[in-house]
């Protein structure tokens, strides 16, 4: 974590966040200052996408106003400046998650990061079969008889790339089931992760259940059998301190737009020894050393995985977002969101006809809650709340298998961030308590 240096941030770091501070934070987010259907907007959909503070919006604008150029090419002034801020941004984001600069790859979003790993691994099998890429690659090649393990609570983005990797390589996809309380069944996991397992992919925190998965236990299981670990950190990195080295995962992905940055930029972390030997996913300009008409040699990571002109302004904006989170204090944000999350779940549990999915109040979960309202479809719940200026997500939240397991087709989800007050949560709860009466359920 970046050391706090100014007296102001030092002062903030020792105090827990409160509503007064949140209201000051909210002033930094222009989009939150508006009326929706005549009521002040209450934004509880940050799990889908977060809002941008002015500093982030200005960082992107400033880049275009003062520095815009193609990076890593050309010797002119703007190209040098653009390259500098682009690579500084990489270092900022790497520091934020405890990674090395070389291990931090820009992607469009987490989904692209997961597909990148999936395709790099099937390319590894193709390369190894033709004797390309050396002996290190042979160990990474996945083939028939091998197993890929995911969990029942995954977002489609951390499920389908592995289904397709299994299809391309002839491997088998297995999954760790969940308990009724929305936690992973570690007893089952210990049996499923076995000698044939080559890769274990799971969410750090569930975007529906709010469950925080036990990374150390799962990593230990994977290490015992020599399997790679892929962590979907979309719902953790924006909300809590994540150190990829401490967690000892092989790969981790997250999206910028869920952590105060614009859309179009995400990050793939991978251990350097893996990234440097894995074949690229996308090929083309900026990722090569020498090219002949017959073949090409590739740069080491991170450029190895960054073909074509990059999302430079978004990367710069993401670094600005990271600075915003660091200055506020990611541990303080996590503590505040935990308070909001518990208040959400406890409040929902007290309303007749509401079923919250995932861990009950009083147990560990992130600052969101998805729930079913007896007799009222989630889409109608969302419409009712929107009429009161409250923005939530409705549907299957890109987790159809999980909803099927829960016996539901859709849920309503409220998700918090650093700009939400306890008053937001209370207004939401008050509105939800009127839903069934309105729909005569």
């Amino acid at each position: 974590m970046t050391a706090v240096s100014t007296p102001a941030s030092l002062l903030r770091s020792v105090h827990a966040m409160d509503n007064a501070e949140v209201l000051r934070i909210r002033n930094d987010f222009p989009v939150l200052d508006q009326l929706v259907n005549g009521k002040p907007l209450i934004y509880l959909d940050s799990g889908a996408t977060s809002q941008n503070p002015l500093s982030v919006i200005e960082a992107e604008q400033e880049y275009y106003e003062q520095r815009n150029a193609a990076v890593h090419r050309g010797a002119h002034h703007l190209a040098v400046e653009a390259t500098e801020v682009f690579e500084d941004a990489r270092q900022t984001v790497a520091d934020f998650i405890g990674a090395q600069y070389e291990e931090t790859v820009w992607t469009s979003n987490a989904t692209e990061g997961l597909n990148l790993i999936s395709y790099a691994l099937s390319n590894a099998a193709l390369w190894a079969a033709q004797g390309r890429g050396g002996s290190a690659l042979k160990d990474l090649a996945i083939g028939p008889g091998d197993e890929i393990v995911v969990t029942e609570m995954e977002h489609h983005a951390n499920l389908i790339p592995w289904q397709e990797l299994a299809f391309r390589t002839g491997a088998t996809l297995k999954y760790i089931p969940i308990s009724d309380d929305g936690t992973l069944r570690l007893d089952a996991a210990a049996e499923i992760v076995g000698e044939r397992t080559k890769l274990l992919a799971f969410a750090h925190a569930s975007n529906v259940l709010g469950t925080i998965n036990p990374v150390p236990e799962l990593v230990t299981m994977a290490r015992r059998v020599g399997a790679l670990v892929v962590l979907d950190a979309c719902q953790s990195v924006p909300h809590m301190a994540v150190d990829v080295k401490e967690l000892d995962v092989d790969f981790a992905v997250f999206s910028g737009h869920k952590m105060l940055a614009p859309t179009g930029v995400g990050v793939l972390y991978g251990k350097q020894e893996l990234l440097d030997v894995l074949p690229p996913f996308l090929t083309g300009g900026s990722m090569i050393t020498t090219v002949t008409m017959e073949r090409a040699e590739y740069l080491p990571a991170p450029q190895r995985f960054e073909a074509g002109t990059q999302r430079i302004s978004q990367a710069v904006a993401l670094a600005t977002a990271v600075n915003y989170l660091t200055e506020t204090g990611i541990d303080r944000i996590h503590a505040w969101e935990t308070t909001l999350g518990q208040r959400l779940v406890k409040g929902l549990e007290a309303i007749d006809g509401i079923r919250v999915v995932g861990p009950a109040s009083g147990t560990e979960r992130i600052g969101l809650a998805a729930f079913d309202v007896a007799g009222v479809h989630a889409h109608d719940v969302g419409q009712f709340l929107d009429d009161r200026g409250i923005a939530v997500r409705v549907g299957h939240h890109c987790a159809q298998p999980l909803h099927r397991r829960l016996g539901l087709t859709a849920t309503t989800r409220a998700s918090t961030y650093l700009y939400n007050t306890t008053d937001d949560v209370d207004a939401f709860l008050d509105a939800v308590s009127g839903v069934r009466a309105y729909f005569q359920a």
Partner: protein, 150 residues
């Protein structure tokens, strides 16, 4: 535009007392030619399977099963009640009219003379995200009607 104009009582009633619901338990009348269509909205999971039975140019029965929001379920119920007994041409023209109203963003008013209870869905046209909910069973009916009369 208030929420009450979207969720009119007639819609809430139909979403609970669903006319024509129970496809799996209902046989098509003897001597009719049938068409069946399944429609799914992957965004929200709304789903409708609708069967339409026709004889001598008249729609004899509209049966369906579905799961979804109150708008989608009420819309299927109203359609089933309204369409039964209509000529094939009449139902085609009512479906066209309903689509025109729903896609007009509120510019085209619903005529109760033509649409009956389905005129209550006029308010949906102002909620772009909900138009598909109201349309899903009507898309299924159009498809089933084309099959039954092919």
């Amino acid at each position: 535009m208030s929420l009450d104009q979207l969720y009119q009582q007639i819609i809430l009633d139909h979403s609970k007392q669903r006319h024509g619901s129970g496809l799996a338990q209902t046989d098509a009348p003897d001597g009719t030619s049938t068409g069946q269509s399944h429609q799914l909205n992957p965004v929200c999971g709304d789903e409708v399977t609708l069967r339409l039975a026709v004889s001598e140019g008249t729609v004899r029965q509209i049966s369906w099963d579905g799961a979804g929001c109150s708008i989608s379920m009420a819309s299927a119920s109203v359609l089933s009640e309204l369409g039964e007994g209509m000529s094939v041409e009449e139902l085609h023209s009512v479906i066209d009219n309903f689509r025109e109203v729903l896609r007009s963003r509120g510019k085209v008013q619903a005529d109760p003379e033509i649409l009956g209870d389905a005129a209550a869905f006029e308010g949906v046209a102002r909620y772009a995200a909900r138009v598909k909910c109201a349309m899903i069973s009507w898309v299924a009916a159009e498809d089933a009607l084309n099959q039954a009369t092919a």
